[in-house]
């Protein structure tokens, strides 16, 4: 291997260099800005995490798995996963091997940015060696890999269904430029390397192409235009990149360590939120996932469009999109890069200014007495259970009745905290983004619960459960959802459940499943009572019932089709009974279901 040019330079590298310098400085500035926007304590935490070995390993693993191999996408759809990892990983390897080549053959050029990229132009093969052939083969192999990915990407634009996607995003104009330039890079590289393969050497791909090209273009004058085109494609791609969805490529590398540092969205537009927004690859997986998708009119209200509008600062649309969402969290659950669609929206809502600000300071918690029985030290700690049914359960008293009946049958001493009505847990207010108001309610309820002397707080509403777990400071009191509690009662033998021949399907309520990660306990409970069948989409991918309090603007009339869609998903295996563990899901499903819908407490109570 020897250098063909003493200068090691040709003008065609300019477009690439301009693009590269632009994108690097853009990213550097962006990085500094995001880090500066982080609250002080978050920033400290981030820097500490960068030097903590455990997080370092995690960061490297996550970046490798998510950014290069796209493991999450593989899990979703093999073809889609292959497409992504072939391009990302292939390209990455091309760069890595390119650098290795430079280091091996022309180490003095290693400080030139462009050299590894255009290596084949600048060198001539002097002798055929095993080492050279090996690298040539690797390079051609990874180029082929990338090209196969590009081919699939082109095919995907025509037939997205093949990739498990019913709907994809509508690319913007700049997205298209980015897309076409990205598509052009590797065929052009192949072409350019094909022209130079007889000089610089090559393997099965480039060499073969060289032979074909030589058969009708036996003139090396075509070489330079091809390298120019390759460089231009790269340059254009890098220049438009910050303004296209491809910005996710560099941003995700920042997002992963930020997330691993345990940082949460604290500001609707800055810092972590911004990193999330720019990490969105606009893949559109969230479009199919969104329960509102059953109505075509809502497609543009999905997270991917929220991110797009956030990048454009289109306030009107941002408000519309963030207010409509049911906050079921499914987009967050399936997002390959970890954009938290629900939290982003709550953050947007929290920015809003209201002229009327509810205030609950006047509420006297003494009006809501809890009997001092729970504070009695002679009562066993296990039995100091405080049952909080919540507002929604008040509208489905069969749940609280069943729950009470179970507690009585299991011999648990309990107190019904809101039998005569109580304060709202604050989660609905929080979902509306009115965090101060929600906090006030949290404080009031904390006061009541603390005073009661309970050791366990039992909840039958997942909406309450989530905020009690996430926002309440109830040290020394176990907060437990009734699905978990019932399972515990059954496991400990306090509750004997008889099995019937009925088959049940369990609907994972958004706040319980995706919100709190409880999937197995309700299923174990139901297995004790009968047969369990599964919905076609379940657990993390369960479909929101459509009744969610998360949405502010979705009217009653617009929710029906969502509920029907969720029901048809639940009934694919023809269960006899639809069981859920949320009073709101229960009410919503009951409205349109063709078979009984009940809460898990009702099912168990009947079978005890």
């Amino acid at each position: 291997m020897r250098e063909r040019f003493l200068t090691g330079y040709n003008d065609f590298v300019l477009p690439f260099m301009i693009g590269m310098i632009f994108i690097l400085s853009y990213c550097a500035i962006g990085l500094i800005r995001i880090l500066k926007q982080l609250p002080k304590d978050d920033r400290r935490r981030f820097f500490i995490s960068l030097v903590t070995p455990k997080t370092i390993v995690k960061n490297i693993r996550d970046i490798f798995c998510d950014c290069l191999l796209h493991v999450k996408i593989w899990k979703r759809n093999k073809l889609l996963g292959y497409m992504h990892s072939s391009i990302a990983f292939g390209w990455f390897m091309l760069i890595v091997i390119g650098h290795i080549e430079v280091f091996l053959y022309v180490p003095h050029r290693a400080k030139l940015f462009y050299y590894p990229i255009f290596f084949r132009y600048f060198v001539a093969e002097t002798e055929t060696t095993m080492k050279g052939a090996f690298f040539f083969f690797l390079m051609d192999f990874f180029l082929l890999l990338v090209l196969s990915g590009i081919f699939l990407a082109m095919f995907k634009r025509i037939r997205s269904r093949m990739f498990g996607m019913r709907r994809t995003t509508n690319p913007s104009f700049l997205d298209l430029i980015g897309l076409y330039s990205l598509w052009a890079i590797f065929p052009l590289r192949l072409l350019a390397e094909g022209f130079t393969a007889d000089i610089s050497g090559g393997s099965f791909l480039t060499k073969s192409l060289n032979h074909i090209l030589n058969s009708f273009l036996s003139d090396h004058t075509n070489m330079l235009p091809a390298w120019w085109a390759y460089s231009c494609a790269l340059g254009i791609f890098f220049v438009v990149l910050p303004f296209t969805r491809y910005m996710h490529i560099p941003t995700e590398i920042l997002l992963i360590p930020l997330r691993n540092a345990g940082i949460k969205i604290r500001n609707a537009r800055k810092g972590f939120a911004k990193a999330q927004v720019y990490s969105c690859p606009s893949c559109g997986l969230c479009i199919d996932a969104c329960p509102m998708g059953v109505m075509k009119t809502h497609i543009k209200d999905t997270t991917v469009y929220l991110n797009r509008q956030l990048r454009r600062n289109n306030e009107r649309r941002i408000e519309e999109i963030s207010d409509k969402c049911l906050l079921c969290g499914k987009c967050t659950a399936i997002c390959p890069v970890g954009v938290e669609g629900d939290k982003l929206r709550i953050a947007q809502r929290s920015m809003r200014k209201y002229a009327v600000n509810p205030d609950y300071s006047g509420i006297d918690t003494a009006l809501l007495p809890v009997s001092p029985g729970l504070a009695d030290p002679s009562v066993a700690a296990d039995d100091k259970v405080l049952y909080f049914a919540g507002c929604m359960t008040a509208l489905t008293p069969s749940i609280s009745k069943a729950m009470e009946s179970i507690l009585v049958k299991a011999g648990v001493g309990y107190e019904f905290m809101d039998k005569e009505g109580g304060l709202c847990c604050g989660r609905p207010m929080m979902m509306a983004g009115r965090l101060d108001q929600a906090r006030q309610m949290v404080e009031k309820n904390t006061e009541i619960i603390r005073r009661s002397g309970a050791k366990t707080l039992l909840l039958s509403c997942p909406i309450c459960y989530r905020i009690f777990k996430e926002e309440y400071r109830l040290e020394g009191i176990e907060v437990v959802h009734h699905t978990v509690y019932i399972r515990r009662l059954i496991a400990s033998g306090r509750l004997k459940v008889g099995k019937t021949g009925l088959s049940y399907v369990f609907h994972d309520p958004c706040e319980l499943g995706r919100g709190c990660g409880i999937y197995d306990e309700p299923r174990e409970v139901l297995l004790a009572a009968g047969n369990l069948v599964e919905a076609s989409k379940n657990r993390k991918e369960s479909i929101c019932c459509g009744g969610s309090l998360g949405s502010i603007t979705l009217g009653f009339d617009k929710r029906k089709s969502m509920t029907e869609n969720a029901l048809s998903n639940l009934t694919v295996a023809s269960p006899d009974v639809i069981v859920t563990a949320c009073p709101l899901c229960r009410s919503t499903f009951t409205r349109y279901a063709d078979r009984p819908v009940e809460d898990i407490a009702e099912t168990i109570d009947r079978n005890v």
Partner: protein, 108 residues
């Protein structure tokens, strides 16, 4: 001159003088407000009503009659729990309505 008594203003709501411009904007944002039939389901199920006298039925009516102050005062007890949304026979999106009122109408 102090006679020990005063001319009190009429307690009647004069619909001619009611300024409904804010109400009309609210109606644009949430047209459901016009569907209320004052059945009282919302007030009856409202957990805040017990502490603050909050009544969605009265809020809607007050706004329709131009009594904004009373409506706004009542709303400051709302906990946005969504029970009214669940029970409304007319399917009024009460939570959106409440938030829209909180946004449009001032404390004074």
């Amino acid at each position: 001159m102090d006679f020990g008594f005063k001319i009190s203003p009429s307690s009647a709501v004069n619909l001619d003088n009611v300024d409904l411009s804010l109400y009309d904007r609210l109606h644009e944002v949430e047209p459901d407000i016009a569907k209320c039939i004052a059945c009282g389901s919302c007030s009856a199920s409202c957990p805040a009503g017990r502490f603050s006298g909050m009544s969605m039925r009265k809020v809607i009516l007050d706004l329709q009659r131009g009594r904004q102050k009373e409506a706004v005062k009542m709303l400051s007890g709302c906990m946005l729990c969504g029970k009214c949304l669940m029970v409304c026979p007319r399917g009024i999106n009460t939570r959106h309505l409440i938030l829209a009122i909180c946004k449009l109408y001032g404390e004074d």
